[in-house]
């Protein structure tokens, strides 16, 4: 149970680390590391306003998305730290939980009837059509490699020796997962989390109408999604010996923060790509994962 609790509590730190890294590169001081916690505390104290055109779907969106991510933590290991409820085929459930969360965010956006949220939802779904197969194929490659059907043993089997042996395959899947991590979390080069320009947003456009507690869950959910997809990636990296769970947890947390710093560096050193090019990027990630799968059959 240690990992899910840690994830829920520490996830809001990740956007703080990314923002501080970006601020460093921009020559600014940046917001405090714990800004996201302050924002959440503020949002959870606020009263909500709802448009008359919205229904219960709009209110349900952020909560269901948050619940989906919590459920995903139940089957998600962090490196060699086992998940609380591993079972054969849980990687499929993970992919579908992420999909369900996305679906609820999208229909909540459509429920407002705003053209901006509609555009954001349409883009999100279009890109998801490329991102979801890539995630499934990448996880299938890992399953094939480990000859296991559950995430926990899949990741537990990865050691330094494994990297020496299956380096090309793991590197390809890791690269694919890094692209997915950026794309699914609306980071540059796919989306710009800081933009105020309605016409260019993807994720931010979908949540324009949410406020107060709902928006708190949106923000917390976004941080959790960073954690979930980050865990899939950093789990591939070398970790502590399997019999020391606390050391493994610490190493996993360290990798996660390093990944946030790397994201900040990536965001500081490149521009967003054109929206029409995003599918190409995601297909590229999918192809890398598929090659990893093919190498696994060798």
């Amino acid at each position: 149970m240690l990992h899910p609790v840690l994830a829920v509590l520490v996830a809001p730190l990740l956007p703080g680390v990314i923002n501080r890294t970006k601020a460093y590169f921009a020559g600014r001081q940046g917001p405090p590391l714990l800004q996201a916690y302050c924002d959440l505390a503020k949002l959870f104290r606020k009263g909500a306003t709802y448009s008359r055109t919205t229904t219960w779907i709009f209110r349900a969106g952020p909560i269901v998305n948050f619940a989906c991510l919590l459920a995903a933590l139940a089957v998600l290991p962090l490196g060699r730290v086992a998940a609380p409820l591993p079972f054969a085929g849980d990687w499929i459930l993970l992919a579908y939980l992420l999909g369900l969360g996305r679906f609820c965010t999208v229909i909540a956006a459509l429920d407002t009837g705003s053209s901006f949220e509609g555009m954001g939802a349409s883009r999100e779904v279009q890109f998801a059509a490329f991102a979801e197969p890539a995630l499934l194929v990448g996880l299938a490659a890992l399953a094939r490699r480990a000859q296991e059907l559950s995430l926990t043993p899949m990741y537990a089997g990865l050691s330094g020796a494994e990297w020496a042996q299956a380096m090309p395959m793991l590197a390809m899947v890791a690269t694919g997962f890094f692209v997915l991590y950026l794309a699914e979390n609306c980071r540059i080069p796919v989306d710009d989390p800081n933009t105020h320009l309605e016409l260019t947003m993807i994720h931010e456009a979908m949540v324009l109408d949410h406020g107060s507690v709902d928006f708190g869950f949106v923000q917390w959910g976004a941080a959790l999604k960073l954690w979930v997809l980050g865990a899939l990636l950093v789990g591939l990296f070398p970790s502590a010996p399997a019999d020391r769970p606390l050391a493994n947890l610490a190493v996993g947390l360290g990798w996660m923060l390093a990944l946030a710093v790397a994201t900040g560096v990536a965001e500081s050193s490149m521009a967003r790509i054109r929206l029409l090019r995003v599918p190409q990027l995601l297909v590229g990630a999918g192809v890398l994962c598929a090659l990893g799968l093919l190498l696994g059959f060798r």
């Binding site: 540059i188 080069p189 105020h196 309605e198 016409l199 490149m270 967003r272 790509i273 054109r274």
Partner: protein, 504 residues
């Protein structure tokens, strides 16, 4: 051919502008355009008995010659716009201000949503005492399978001025963009009538807040010409330094904003600070970061001493070095160039037909620059090369700005190194009666045109202001054709037009 040719800033008696029949007027204007002239201003002049006279001012850039012709159209006339697209905006303005109907205008809609200046003469037959609400009207519509409409503004997500943008889209592709402004209309042109009075300079300085020096300079030149005032050389040089500082600040800010729109942080954050450094240099000259209170008819309000000049040059060199570092990152970053290149291209033909001005026109390969073609003040002696590039896309508009930054810095270096001595202000008398003067200045956004006409009492009977934004907004609408809607903010920023400069 009954058109009057005259020089820039030449005081001409108003009755010398030939008033011809409307057919001859159309022939003269269209003939001049065919010869390579641009329409600089086209406006209505109130006459006795509530009549309105149309006046067209044209510029022939290569010869540096201005031309003017007038006509009395009555209540309607055959529109110029079908044969001369650059007249379309001016004709909408005339119809709205004076209720004179241009027959056969392809898209006759109000521009600024105010009541007609002539009571009970409304081009749309609207009655009632209150102003019409902005943007409440039909927009151009595209219909068909999968076509959808996106409405943006007037309230935007950022801290910018209000304007309404109506996109007709097919998926992410924009088929048509219609821009509807007028939310910032203050009635400045009407307030200028009866001037110059003590408030006039303040009205002019706030025509477009980021072009304070440019508009104040155009106004001061007009008044000085009407009054026959000779501006001391030192003041002329200081005015040009202030104008170039304004250009530096805004171009730097624009390049940073362009980087911000594509999510490229380093240039975005550095240029934001460096723009402030240039504004502070303007504050060094006159105490205001936006140059308020610096340019006055007859000269400038503040002199500089050697210590201040040394400080200014030191700051200029330091800031320019940083700007070079930040801006060159843009051209060296492939992901930025991939966004800038081939986005929002305007062809040279379109730019000429719409009469675009300033960096937007020069980015489409049009070699026009008031500082070279119609020089005034110190620009007659210290010339700047025209920074024109081919391409017409966002990259071209960004690169023109970078070229102009370098040339403006070079210009300020030269001027501050050899600043003429003497006074900075000469007394400026009252304007001559019954005279007209056309004053042009190259603001950072492009050509600023002021046409001042005095009445028998030596007061402004009409003061026409044409901000470069008025000319360039249609260019933005055409740049968006067949682009992705997500590229709109980027294209918009590459033009960076003023809303209040358009709405006046």
């Amino acid at each position: 051919m009954s058109i009057l040719a005259f020089r820039h800033l030449e005081k001409i008696p108003s009755d010398q502008i030939p008033a011809v029949s409307i057919d001859a007027f159309r022939r003269d204007v269209l003939g001049a355009i065919a010869e390579g002239c641009r329409l600089v201003a086209f406006y209505g002049m109130p006459r006795a008995n509530a009549a309105v006279r149309l006046v067209a001012v044209l510029a022939h850039d290569r010869s540096g010659e201005l031309r003017a012709v007038a006509a009395d159209p009555g209540e309607s006339y055959p529109a110029l716009a079908p044969d001369c697209p650059q007249a379309a905006g001016f004709e909408r303005e005339i119809a709205e201000q004076w209720g004179v109907q241009p027959r056969g205008h392809p898209w006759l809609k109000p521009l600024r949503f105010h009541r007609s200046y002539r009571p009970s003469r409304d081009a749309w037959g609207r009655t009632g005492p209150e102003s019409p609400p902005p943007s409440v009207l039909d927009f151009f519509r595209v219909e068909g399978e999968g076509i959808h409409e996106v409405a943006v503004g007037p309230v935007h997500a950022g801290i910018i001025e209000p304007g309404h943008f109506r996109f007709q889209c097919h998926g992410e592709q924009v088929l048509h963009l219609e821009i509807s402004l007028g939310y910032q209309h203050r009635g400045v042109e009407r307030a200028l009538v009866g001037g110059p009075h003590p408030r006039t300079i303040h009205h002019v300085e706030t025509l477009a807040g980021d072009t304070t020096i440019g508009h104040a300079l155009a106004y001061a030149q007009a008044v000085e010409s009407l009054a026959g005032c000779r501006v001391p050389a030192r003041a002329q040089a200081l005015r040009a330094v202030a104008l170039e500082l304004e250009r530096l600040a805004n171009h730097t800010g624009d390049l940073g904003a362009l980087a911000g729109d594509v999510g490229y942080l380093p240039t975005s954050s550095f240029c934001g600070r460096l723009r402030g450094d240039f504004l502070n240099m303007t504050a060094l000259l006159c105490g205001s970061r936006f140059g308020r209170g610096f340019v006055r008819p007859g000269g400038v309000a503040f002199d500089v001493d050697a210590a201040l000049l040394a400080d200014l040059r030191g700051r200029l060199e330091a800031t320019f070095r940083d700007v070079g570092g930040a801006v060159n990152l843009l051209w060296d970053t492939p992901s930025v160039m991939a966004r800038f290149e081939n986005t929002g291209a305007v062809s040279p033909e379109t730019a000429a037909a719409l009469g675009l001005v300033g960096p937007a026109a020069r980015a489409s390969g049009r070699e026009i620059d008031v500082r070279r073609d119609f020089p005034s003040g110190i620009y007659r002696f210290a010339q700047l090369p025209v920074s024109a590039v081919a391409g017409g896309d966002v990259f071209a508009r960004a690169y023109v700005r970078w070229l102009e930054i370098q040339r403006s810095v070079e210009f300020i270096r030269g001027q501050t190194a050899s600043l003429p001595g003497g006074a900075v202000r000469a007394p400026c008398g009252p304007p001559a009666p019954d005279a007209t003067v056309v004053s042009l200045q190259e603001g950072w956004r492009g050509e600023i045109a002021h046409v001042a006409t005095t009445g028998a009492d030596g007061r402004f009977a009409r003061y026409k202001v044409v901000d470069p934004s008025f000319r360039n907004w249609p260019g933005l609408a055409l740049a968006l054709r067949n682009q992705e809607i997500s590229d709109f903010p980027l294209c918009n920023k590459s033009f960076n037009l003023s809303y209040c400069g358009h709405d006046l």
